[in-house]
Symmetry: C2
Subunit: 152 residues, 2 copies
DNA sequence: ACTTATTGTAACTATTATTGTTACAATCGG
DNA sequence: CCGATTGTAACAATAATAGTTACAATAAGT
């Protein structure tokens, strides 16, 4: 099992919007940078829009940021794209025997542990803003052959 | 997406072994407590065996612990049952455009963030031993109607 | 030996989530 | 009014999970 790549696609979209705020950034265009289908990009963009991170308008080309990148963390994107179903990272076997020391109490006991582990992961994501991501992208690009920095 | 319930099943199995070390604990029996098919139990038990946590013998009824529960953490079980494919919790969109500030650098940049977040989660799991889990199961059972503590 | 029970494993099915794709209505700009 | 774009539904392909049946391998008890 893996967290859906909608998460990385969402980060990619927001990074494009932040790095190239004056570009048109249509779904077709961003799909070329992401390497995915434009419909997938529109779907993820819709999730970011419903989370209040970007704005779009039907019939008008492009997506634009609503909040500055320093106010958006990886945790926000993760939540926006529903990277994890129902917010529960850990699955649970559904029919433990209730009349049993183990079966009757394991769900409540493990749920606390699972919640704590998931929170640790999400708190780490909350420590990185999209602004830092774009800064690191620029740092990485500076150590590479020229031409990489073109809006593509 | 969700971590496979093999994880919670693995914890359930080890908890039964720890709570009832003198019982026979056949796959059929444990399947009754877990509420799953005996073959699923044997498959998860096989993963725990290959991780060096339990021992079984073909033809001989029962599974037994190899290590004491205080030396087994939730992280060990999580790793044993391959709760996460290839060790990579976060999926990534596979074809970003390489000739692009964002597309050419996002994978390496995000990988560090994803690795850190995943490590935070796994480190939290490593803080809880199976002995603690069994202790909490007993605590939870003590606040319940009698009969719950029977080996079932 | 022979019978019986259990483990280990393969094979198949059903279900679900993800991703890509086509199609089309709704909307806006020129 | 035309053309382009977004929003969304519908469908297919793929993959992972979980349940189930089946059976070989192995060991214990008689």
């Amino acid at each position: 099992m893996q967290v859906s790549s909608r998460f990385s696609i969402g980060v990619h979209i927001l990074s494009l919007l932040g790095a190239y705020p004056d570009a048109e950034n249509t779904s077709e265009y961003m799909a070329g940078s992401i390497g995915a289908n434009p419909v997938v990009v529109r779907n993820v963009t819709g999730m970011l829009r419903r989370a209040g991170l970007v704005a779009t308008q039907q019939g008008v080309a492009g997506t634009r940021l609503v909040k500055p990148l320093e106010e958006i963390t990886l945790r926000d994107v993760y939540g926006a794209v529903r990277a994890v179903e129902d917010g529960n990272l850990f699955g649970f076997h559904p029919n433990p025997h209730p009349n049993c020391l183990v079966g009757g109490n394991i769900e409540a006991t493990l749920e606390r542990e699972f919640t704590a582990a998931q929170a640790a992961m999400e708190n780490r994501l909350a420590q990185t803003t999209l602004q830092e991501v774009v800064r690191k992208l620029r740092e990485a690009a500076s150590g590479r052959p020229p031409g990489d920095s073109t809006h593509c």
